[in-house]
């Protein structure tokens, strides 16, 4: 039922991807904020979504509890957006805000050109529980990635998840760093660890293989069937050019742009000053 959307999503992602390849990395950095936004707006879904509504009918009548979890996660996601993490995109799943789909682009180093899809699982007692889990769709050959499950060893970086101090963007950041700075202590993948220390050449070639493997599955259907799952498709100018265009020209505005607003945003304060009407010259824009 969600194939339709997934396809769209695919296009979107691919456009980002291709764009990233084609143009200097920098330009992409500059626009980092944008991708998550169109992504969210994309879903044009016609699923019988009521199914998901079922399990929450435990209606805590006078409780706002659900709002808090929801907003905590929403706030986390907002933080992710604000961080502008280089080469990382995430998007919460349609079915559960506790599951986020993501993809990470590695731009240089041993894992250069790697495009790794992953899923973040957030404990439902967040933020009081353990650290979130991060699982790669395809187990990457890496000392800290479980060769079977594909799970990244997040725990070592966040031994205890502390609300207010630990945030999900840090997990994502950690997932990125791992590919640039390789750590072999207490590995989840001992083979990779040993190779890295004993035979870097072999390790490198294994990594290249692994990267190739991952990239060859790039266009596969997402492992988890979800309207918001991230998937890729080959570049199709008819579809992607326009999307790309929109991404670059997108300007966020408040929702209601009524007539009364034109006088808002007044300021005659000179930057660095705290005196009213200290900015004399330039005519204020309205």
């Amino acid at each position: 039922m969600s194939a339709n959307t997934s396809r769209k999503r695919t296009d979107e992602e691919q456009s980002g991807h291709v764009d990233q390849r084609a143009s200097p990395v920098r330009t992409h950095f500059g626009k980092k904020v944008l991708p998550p936004i169109p992504k969210n707006a994309t879903p044009i879904t016609k699923p019988a979504s009521m199914g998901s509504a079922a399990h929450s009918a435990n209606g805590t009548h006078a409780s706002y509890g659900p709002f808090y979890l929801e907003y905590a996660l929403l706030a986390e996601f907002t933080l992710v957006i604000k961080q502008k993490l280089p080469g990382i995109y995430v998007q919460p799943s349609y079915k559960s805000a506790l599951m986020w789909f993501g993809v990470i682009f590695i731009r240089h180093g041993l894992y250069q050109d790697g495009v790794f899809k992953f899923t973040v699982y957030i404990p439902d007692n967040y933020p009081d529980g353990e650290s979130p889990k991060l699982v790669f769709d395809i187990p990457v050959f890496h000392p800290l990635v479980d060769p079977v499950s594909g799970e990244l060893d997040v725990r070592r970086a966040f031994t205890k998840w502390r609300r207010n101090h630990n945030h999900i963007w840090q997990v994502l950041m950690y997932a990125r760093t791992v590919f640039y700075k390789i750590n072999t202590t207490e590995p989840l993948n001992p083979e990779a660890a040993v190779l890295y220390e004993k035979d870097v050449q072999l390790f490198k070639s294994k990594v290249v293989e692994s990267v190739k493997l991952c990239n060859s599955h790039l266009f596969d259907q997402p492992k988890i069937d979800d309207p918001y799952a991230i998937s890729f498709s080959p570049w199709n100018p008819a579809v992607h050019e326009e999307a790309k265009e929109r991404m670059f020209t997108f300007k966020r505005r408040p929702e209601e742009h009524h007539k009364g607003t034109q006088v808002s945003g007044l300021s005659w304060v000179k930057p660095g000053s705290t005196q009213p009407f200290s900015k004399e010259d330039s005519p204020p824009q309205s």
Partner: protein, 812 residues
């Protein structure tokens, strides 16, 4: 415009304030607007900026207060950096209101809903029960819970969608630049998003799952309104942060840097604030022990200047009180005052240190009083000085002497001052509430009474040098000075008499020259009598003017608060005497450089704390303004209002403290009224009906001024907003009031009729006053709960709002 705003009669002040408001709202040319704003912020009239004058009026009687509040609402809605800087931000910039260790937290948002939870937890138990229980037994009830928030109740309420998937709704909403807004609720049947996200790259299909889920979610009873509040908060915050995107600085506690920020309250402002809010400074006692010497020096300096200013103020006050009779004289007096100014200053500086040491011991001995009961304790301290503490009392009673006469005079002129006697003197009165907020007392009176604790200025204005020395020594040499002070009291008497002689006609004058000032007992006795007389009189006038609906309502309010105050007086007494022991030193100790959040916040909080006695309209305006302030994304402001975990300096009252005290009062009220739940429900019904009626009839007729007409139509605050729109212009305010009264007369479901039906049969104005008091309190309870939800929603929304990038000039 300046002189017009300073017209002597209240009606003229109201009119000119309303006109100023109207100007501001209709000006579209930016440079013209700039001129207006510059005038308001910087222009000085009689030493005060227009802004300060306007600020003092918020605490005045209800009509002047209402126009002033709506003017400020207009000012806030401009999202102008200069205004916000002058009103609030400059006081917050140095970050002295925050504990040093907490400065980092300024930028934190309410990630996990803790603050929101705190706000919601303040919803009084009595109101929760009402919501829940009435849902069970009253068919009609969902009306309140649902219709109010969402007309889509007709759809069978499906189970609540999963939390997680609702998240995606928000995601979507966010991404498309705020989502569908009120659309979801306004056309529920079609579940049709009103627009397809102008910003989003893909049009949203109506089938968007989040959308469906969203509309269904609303159908829950208790927290039904909450989602609406969240949406509204999001809209408000986004709009606000968009409007503020070109401000010169983020105001996040680092930029502008707290260290380079200029000393926040320039004299005129501190003057205004001190004149108006002695309780604020009284409260600062607790914190004064940790004041660094440098600050104390600064304090002394600013006290100097503020006393200077205050004397001016005092004079002005007299001028206003006697506005009709004594206007020419006030000018002369001002001059005299200025001449005398240098003299009181020298004794002032030593006294400050003495006092601060005193207050140190004070704060250590009774910290709990200062903190836990802060809001109440503090506010009646000044009063206490005048009433029970003997030595100290004399200086105060001099003031009272002045004020008593003023009261009488005012009685001749304005009938609705009846609560003044309470406020100003008799020991049985209930000073704290009056003083803290006294919404209905007339501006000038309030002003004068507030000046009172600042004894120097008051005395300075007395053109008698001998007396002056007496006075300056009086407050801190307490009991030993009794003969002398009596003497000085008498000389004040003389002055008063002199003043009174100048007054052409004083209908109420007879007999007030005797008996006061000779002994405190006699004095209070007379005050009691006076109080009774005032009460009688106002009741009589209330009856008389019942035809004039608006003023009648106002007088009812007055009466109401009078009744309340005298009723409460007994309760407070005990506490009062407790506090009184340490209070004598208080009037002197007013370090102005204590962390201070500015007159605007202080007056708003004071007013807010008195919610229970405010009329519905005042409360709606008031909560509207605070909510609007809470929309501002600047971390300094946001953390001050919405971060409930923040630890402020003990001298700084936080919003949550204020709300906590309101909550306690509501609960106390509910406990004393058995029929509270029923009344509450009626009030809710009435307001909903009001809202519906207004939304169907009026928006068409009234062209929107500069505010969005498309606020969520069905939720309560929109009702508030609606009424706001009415009150924004006096004529419309009147219209709204008449509308409301029409409702009353129509009877039906209105609370008024319900209340008055009972009382009209039995004899009595007393009962009517009581009914009004109940009415205000019940409405307040309703508004209060909704306000808390609104604040909670804002706290949450701030955490998930993305800032807007600065606009490039080109694209704007």
């Amino acid at each position: 415009m300046g002189p017009a705003l300073h017209k002597s009669s209240v009606d003229e002040m109201i009119a000119s304030t309303a006109y100023l408001d109207l100007f501001l709202r209709s000006v579209t040319e930016t440079s013209l607007l700039k001129t207006f704003l510059r005038f308001i912020l910087l222009h000085r009239h009689d030493n005060d900026t227009i802004l300060d004058t306007l600020l003092t009026r918020i605490s005045s009687n209800s009509r002047l207060c209402m126009v002033s509040l709506s003017l400020f609402r207009t000012l806030l809605s401009l999202h102008c950096e200069d205004i916000m800087l002058q009103l609030v931000l400059r006081y917050l910039l140095p970050c002295t209101h925050v504990m040093l260790s907490q400065r980092r937290a300024i930028r934190e948002t309410d990630m996990y809903g803790k603050s929101a939870n705190k706000f919601l937890s303040l919803i009084p138990e009595c109101c929760r029960l009402n919501a829940a229980s009435s849902a069970d037994r009253d068919d009609d009830n969902p009306f309140w819970g649902k219709v109010l928030t969402n007309p889509s109740t007709e759809a069978p309420a499906p189970p609540r969608p999963s939390t997680p998937s609702r998240l995606s709704f928000f995601m979507w909403q966010q991404s498309s630049g705020g989502g569908s807004g009120g659309g979801g609720s306004s056309n529920p049947a079609t579940v049709d998003p009103p627009h397809s996200g102008p910003s989003g790259p893909h049009a949203l299909s109506p089938e968007s799952p989040m959308h469906q889920q969203h509309t269904h979610t609303d159908c829950l009873e208790w927290d039904a309104g909450y989602l609406e509040y969240l949406k509204d908060a999001r809209r408000g915050i986004e709009h606000c942060s968009w409007a503020c995107r070109d401000w010169s600085a983020p105001y996040d506690g680092e930029n502008p840097s707290p260290s380079t920020a200029p000393a926040p309250p320039p004299p005129p402002t501190s003057n205004a604030s001190m004149a108006m809010f002695p309780e604020h400074f009284a409260f600062q006692h607790g914190g004064s022990s940790n004041t660094p010497p440098a600050q104390q020096r600064a304090a002394a300096r600013s006290e100097w200047s503020s006393s200077d200013q205050d004397s001016g103020e005092w004079d002005v006050t007299i001028g206003k009180n006697n506005c009709i009779s004594l206007t020419p004289r006030s000018k002369k007096r001002t001059l005299q005052t200025e001449d005398l100014l240098p003299k009181p200053v020298p004794p002032l500086v030593p006294s400050l240190s003495a006092v601060s040491s005193l207050s140190t011991s004070l704060s250590s001995s009774s910290p709990s009083q200062h903190i836990s009961t802060s809001t109440i304790t503090v506010s009646y301290q000044p009063m206490y000085n005048g009433t029970i503490g003997q030595g100290d009392g004399c200086s105060d009673s001099r003031d009272r002497g002045l004020e008593v006469k003023k009261v009488k005079r005012d009685l001749g002129e304005q009938q609705f001052l009846d609560e003044n006697p309470n406020q100003n003197g008799s020991p049985i009165s209930y000073p704290s509430h009056n003083r803290a907020t006294a919404p209905q007392s007339i501006f000038s009176n309030r002003n004068s009474s507030e000046v009172k604790p600042l004894q120097f200025p008051t005395q300075v204005s007395v053109p008698d040098t001998k007396q002056l020395t007496n006075n300056t020594s009086g407050p801190y040499s307490t009991s030993s000075e009794l003969p002398e002070t009596t003497q000085s009291q008498q000389s004040v008497e003389r002055l008063i008499e002199e003043l009174l002689e100048q007054a052409p006609d004083n209908p109420q004058l007879p007999g007030d020259a005797n008996g006061q000032g000779i002994s405190i007992e006699a004095f209070t006795q007379e005050l009691r009598e006076l109080e009774d007389r005032v009460k009688e009189r106002s009741q009589a006038t209330c009856q008389l003017s019942a035809a004039d609906s608006l003023s009648a309502e106002q007088q009812e309010e007055e009466q109401l608060s009078t009744a309340l105050h005298s009723k409460l007086a007994g309760d407070v007494k005990a506490e009062e005497s407790e506090v009184g022991i340490c209070s004598p030193a208080r009037p002197l100790n007013q370090p102005a450089s204590q962390p201070y959040t500015g007159p605007f916040m202080v007056v708003l909080f004071a007013k807010l704390e008195n919610m229970l006695q405010n009329s519905l309209y005042v409360n709606i305006l008031l909560t509207g303004i605070v909510a609007q302030l809470a929309c501002y994304p600047q971390p300094l402001l946001r953390s001050f209002l919405l971060n409930t975990n923040m630890v402020f300096q003990p001298s700084v009252k936080s919003l949550i403290q204020v709300l906590g005290s309101v909550k306690n009062r509501i609960e106390a009220f509910a406990a004393s009224h058995e029929d509270f739940p029923a009344l509450l429900r009626k009030a809710q019904h009435y307001l909903v009906a009001r809202g519906k009626l207004d939304w169907t009839d009026i928006p068409a007729a009234v062209p929107p001024l500069r505010r969005s007409d498309s606020l969520v139509k069905s939720r309560k605050p929109s009702l508030g907003d609606l009424i706001l729109r009415h009150t924004n212009s006096p004529t419309r305010a009147r219209h709204a009031a008449q509308l409301a009264l029409a409702h009353v007369r129509d009877g039906g479901q209105s609370l008024h009729s319900a209340l008055f039906r009972g009382s009209s049969g039995s004899s009595g104005l007393e009962k009517q006053a009581e009914a009004l008091r109940v009415k205000n309190a019940v409405y307040c309870a309703v508004i209060f709960c909704e306000f808390l939800k609104e604040l909670a929603a804002m706290a949450q929304e701030h955490a998930v709002t993305l800032p807007f990038p600065q606009s490039q000039k080109a694209e704007e």
